[in-house]
């Protein structure tokens, strides 16, 4: 079969069994790439073909759902590689879209090396150039953007989470569900998953936060970060930091935003005393609204900010916090 007209998404699931947000985002990207060209969007999933799942995938943009029932739905590298091997050998899709998620960033290089084909990881934009895909990727920590194309098929790309937009759910859409035969002996696997340990924290995780208040070197010390935690209580939001406060031990390194920490895109990002090193900007510049407060009017952070105040944090943070308490 010639599947070069098929754009296939690799389906992921949340722990509660629901379809992972990144999969819906990739289906949205798949639909955009298919456009009116007659290309088809497929999704491949492991595990049982329950109609609630396959129906949802079709309503969210899939024309075809390939189901590998012999592979356990919970991610195992060896099982998922076998599933994608089968897909690429039997269906031969022209494009394979994988989420740059904890699962996808592990899986994508494995399948690319297994098939000996090219892969672009953590892409921030994909588009057609003729009949070939062009993949945009930040390199050198975001100082530059590289655009790659492929010499091999399938064209495999892992796409950063939140880059794609899911289509509006449409229950009138129709699609096919097909079984995918995969020969896999799970007992021979060398990769043995034992357990998951959840982080015990009462704080909002950076990746989940709608609002982040973050401090940089300009905060001055760990004591000063208490002001940000007070502000975070008012806004019910997460606290983040650039690299220097983490290196200095003012705040745990799990709170670091940037290419060496967490890449975030909340609705609102408020940066206090952050000068805006490239590796930090790369980690937060896709936030919907960016507010910056810094003593230096020339600081790089103002290049990406929507609103800014130039001045002493010691005066601005309490005044800002108190006014918000009053207004909210």
């Amino acid at each position: 079969m010639d599947g070069s007209n098929i754009i296939s998404v690799v389906g992921e699931f949340a722990e509660d069994g629901s379809i992972a947000p990144v999969t819906l985002e990739l289906l949205g990207i798949g639909r955009e790439l298919a456009g009116g060209s007659g290309k088809q969007v497929a999704v491949v999933i492991a595990g049982p073909a329950d109609e609630s799942v396959t129906g949802n995938l079709i309503a969210q943009g899939a024309d075809k759902v390939y189901v590998a029932e012999s592979i356990e739905r919970k991610y195992s590298p060896e099982g998922y590689v076998k599933m994608l091997d089968a897909l690429c050998n039997q269906v031969k899709p022209g494009v394979l879209l994988i989420g740059h998620s904890p699962v996808g960033l592990d899986l994508a290089p494995r399948i690319a090396f297994d098939l000996n084909v090219g892969l672009v990881t953590d892409s921030i934009k994909v588009e057609w150039s003729g009949d070939k895909l062009k993949c945009y990727k930040q390199v050198y920590g975001g100082i530059a953007v590289a655009v790659y194309s492929f010499n091999t098929s399938p064209q495999i790309v892992s796409i950063r989470q939140r880059v794609g937009t899911p289509i509006a759910r449409d229950d009138s859409r129709s699609g096919n569900v097909e079984k995918l035969d995969v020969d896999f002996d799970a007992s021979a696997a060398r990769y043995n998953w034992l357990e998951k340990v959840e982080e015990e924290t009462t704080e909002i995780r950076l990746e989940d936060a709608e609002v982040i208040v973050a401090g940089g070197r300009g905060m001055g010390g760990g004591e000063e970060f208490k002001q940000l935690y007070e502000l975070a209580t008012v806004l019910n939001c997460a606290v983040g930091a650039s690299r220097p406060p983490c290196d200095s031990g003012w705040i745990p390194s799990s709170r670091q935003v940037g290419i060496t920490g967490k890449i975030v895109s909340p609705d609102v990002y408020i940066a206090f005393g952050i000068s805006g090193a490239t590796q930090h900007l790369t980690g937060m510049q896709d936030s919907k609204s960016i507010i910056a407060v810094n003593t230096d009017a020339e600081a790089n952070i103002f290049q990406v900010a929507d609103y800014g105040v130039v001045g002493d944090l010691k005066e601005i943070i309490p005044a800002f916090t108190n006014k918000l308490k009053e207004l909210r």
Binding site: P109, R110, A146, K196, V211, Y307, V310, I316, F320, T321
Partner: protein
Amino acid sequence: MPEELKIVVCAKQVPDPEGPPSSFELNSEEKRITPRGIPPVISPFDENALEAAVQLVEKHGGTVSILGVGTNLSASVYLKAIAVGAEDSYMVDDPELDPAILDSVTTAKILSDAIKKMGEFDLILTGRQAADTNAGQVPAGIAHILGLPVVTLAQSITVEGDKIKVNRELPDGYEVVEVPLPAVVSVTPDIGEIRYPKISAIKAAKKKPQTKWSAADVAGEGVPRNLLNLDELFTPVREPHCEFIEAEDISEAGAMLAQKLVEEKIL
């Protein structure tokens, strides 16, 4: 557990990623970036791998070897890495291995060929990704070529008999996975910042072997082909659009900012 844990750390030399953007000169025609006036360093992600290796041999005994692939590798950069706690270093240094054009597949192939030539290892450690290409493909590539299991994003590694247990980073905690040795593991910065070598350790490192090879010295069978084309390289354009809130009294500006954000329904 192996009698003596032998670890190789793949350490890529990159221009200091903490350097200001102006020190990365971008030539869009040649599609390459040339560092200006900033020193080469070991990719910070690979420094995390080195720290992980040193922690493991402190606990279990054994040795750490450092392996770098590239062009114009700095002996002093790799010497400093040895001083952190390694036994020796191997540098595959060749004009053909220009990191500006080396892709993940070729990098993984040369690293694997070099590792085979270096000897037998229990553990091959890398950073989560390189600080220049940010691709994160090499660990899986080495594992594929050498036929070893690979675990990505390790926050911690524990050796138990002839297996390792790895705490693998997740957004809301970690998962524990187990693979048999020998294995390839990529680590996250959570595994620990690299320690500073003592002056005495830097002196001692000078007596330790630093082996230099050319690409031809290590080349095994098969020449990797280019799987990707780099079509464009450009600097993202930022259009400053910041609305500054100004007031005579600076704390007033803080209050006005709050007022503005609430009025605009941003907060």
